[in-house]
């Protein structure tokens, strides 16, 4: 069902666990759907220096959480906000159609963490970035 890459990230998830004093926290998902993600970021000079996650969810939810934290490290906030769910899924060698919503969740967890950071640090660039954030760019293709 899952690609080797997914199983690798599921079985050995990167960047799991708590983060001390994160600069931004994303919290998405809901118990009804069975996926809950928390994503924590550290930001310095508009660059994401560290990312961690905690996820209650299926194999795809855990793997996409793991992958998105990997992809985001070292990226500028602007570039991070451009990471689409499709990019996460592709980086994992694809996801089953019925699991694409998990990649959407990962994308949303990331942008929600950035949004949280921006709320707390409203000085720089905020408006442009928040606009970027608001633009939906995920695709739930079959």
């Amino acid at each position: 069902m899952y690609s080797e890459k997914v199983m690798d990230h599921f079985n050995n998830p990167r960047n799991t666990g708590d983060m001390e004093n994160p600069d931004g926290i994303g919290h998405v998902g809901n118990p009804v759907c069975g996926d809950i993600m928390e994503l924590y970021i550290k930001v310095k000079d508009d660059i994401i220096t560290d990312a961690k996650f905690k996820t209650f969810g299926c194999g795809a939810a855990i793997a996409t959480s793991s992958m998105v934290t990997e992809m985001v490290k070292g990226k500028s906030l602007a570039d991070a906000l451009k990471i689409s769910n499709k990019a996460v899924a592709e980086a994992l060698g694809g996801l089953p159609a019925i699991k694409m919503h998990c990649s959407v969740l990962a994308e949303e967890a990331l942008s929600s963490a950035i949004d949280d950071y921006l709320k707390k640090n409203p000085t720089r660039n905020t408006d442009a970035l928040r606009k970027l954030h608001k633009t939906p760019h995920h695709e739930e293709t079959e």
Partner: protein, 390 residues
């Protein structure tokens, strides 16, 4: 890697004896049972012999056994067949909230066709209250359908009591016995059912074959229209090898029901108490005693079911979950919600179902591995904030 299969409720391996019994009917005694020449009559005889074996397992007469393509068809046939045949009498059907999708989706379809469906609630153990059946009956009620035992949580329903109520009211009574026939005693007269569904691949028979028991005199419109097979009640060239296999499986199942039941209950209870003792915040779903001998259903707090199953699969343990994610829908198991679980608990459920090749060592292996897996997943769960993992 030696795999440990603990999903016998999803499907069973076909017993090698059953496969052996089927083999002659593919290439050698391959005839169409409707044909008058030798090949046809050989097939016909095999068919009737299998019918007798199935009938004996459930205390029915031979001619009350109708072979179908599986449990789903038996359920569709029972529900739709009774609904169409009794249209003039009424349009009301009573069922329970925890039936298999084959019953529930058939009801939903009939609902769209204008039938009224009452979905009875269940208590926290998954039991239907016979009184609630009685109260739901109206003068338009034409069918009651309550499963014998639930496939997810293993709860065994008070079918004979409901059967008495149905009989008194003169209403057709159907029970989905897909999870019980061949596993616990099933006798159509003691249960008081008019219609009863079985499926081959749940009792070490082949996939793609099932049975609808139909009490003599029950009014039923055919579901599968066409040729005159099964005395005009179910069309299509008979799946002779499959039916022979089901007959053989039924015979085998009847042979050591009691002994196997005791063995499985021992293993089942060992697994249940082992998990509940070793891992805190875990709970048994379903009834503690009115329960299938092979069913273990546990909710593990803070952890999602598919991720547990996947982790078990990595080390060769096959189990299932009532979590949405594994089924392609986003909804958690309707059964677990119906017994009152929160969504997050329902998503955190695990089902182990044991079978004739399950050993004590396998159960011990699961008890050794599962706590570690849960510990690992809880460590990365956002829900465990205030809980020390493990």
């Amino acid at each position: 890697m030696q795999r440990i299969y603990l999903d016998y409720a999803a499907t069973t391996p076909t017993d090698p004896n059953v496969v052996q019994a089927m083999l002659p009917y593919f290439h050698d005694a391959f005839g169409n049972p409707s044909a008058i020449y030798s090949y046809g009559q050989e097939a016909k005889n095999a068919l009737e012999e299998a019918r007798g074996k199935v009938a004996r397992l459930i205390g029915a007469r031979d001619e009350e056994i109708i072979f179908t393509s599986g449990g789903t068809e038996a359920d569709n046939f029972a529900l739709k067949g009774a609904a169409y045949a009794n249209q003039k009498k009424g349009n009301h059907i009573i069922t329970s909230a925890i039936e298999h999708h084959a019953v529930l989706e058939s009801c939903k379809f009939l609902g769209k066709m204008g039938y009224k469906i009452t979905y009875l609630p269940v208590d926290k153990y998954g039991l239907v209250d016979p009184d609630s059946v009685k109260k739901a009956i109206t003068d338009k009620t034409i069918l009651i359908s309550v499963m014998h035992a639930n496939n997810e949580i293993g709860t065994i329903q008070p079918i004979s009591e409901i059967g008495k109520i149905a009989k008194e009211a003169g209403i057709l009574f159907h029970s989905d016995a897909v999870q019980t026939a061949g596993h616990i005693p099933v006798n159509v007269n003691e249960l008081g059912v008019d219609l009863l569904s079985m499926s081959g691949h749940k009792l070490y028979g082949p996939k793609g074959v099932g049975v609808l028991y139909t009490r003599k005199g029950s009014k039923l419109t055919p579901f599968m229209h066409g040729g005159g097979q099964e005395r005009g009640r179910r069309a299509s060239t008979e799946n002779v090898p499959g039916i022979v296999g089901l007959g053989q499986a039924a015979e085998l199942a009847g042979q050591d029901l009691e002994g196997e039941t005791q063995r499985l209950i021992g293993l089942r209870d060992k697994l249940i108490s082992g998990i509940v003792q070793k891992v805190d915040r875990t709970h048994l779903n379903g009834h503690p005693v009115k329960r299938l001998p092979n069913n273990v259903n546990i909710s593990v707090e803070f952890v999602e079911g598919e991720s547990m199953c996947l982790n078990m699969d990595i080390v060769g343990i096959c189990a299932s979950t009532g979590s949405a994610c594994s089924s392609g829908s986003l909804e958690a198991s309707h059964v677990l919600l119906a017994i009152g679980l929160e969504h997050v608990q329902a998503h955190g459920s695990l089902r182990f179902t044991l079978g004739k090749w399950t050993t004590e060592e396998e159960v011990e292996k699961v008890l050794e591995i599962l706590p570690r897996i849960i510990g690992k997943l809880r460590a990365m769960s956002p829900l465990t904030k205030n809980l020390s993992p493990g």
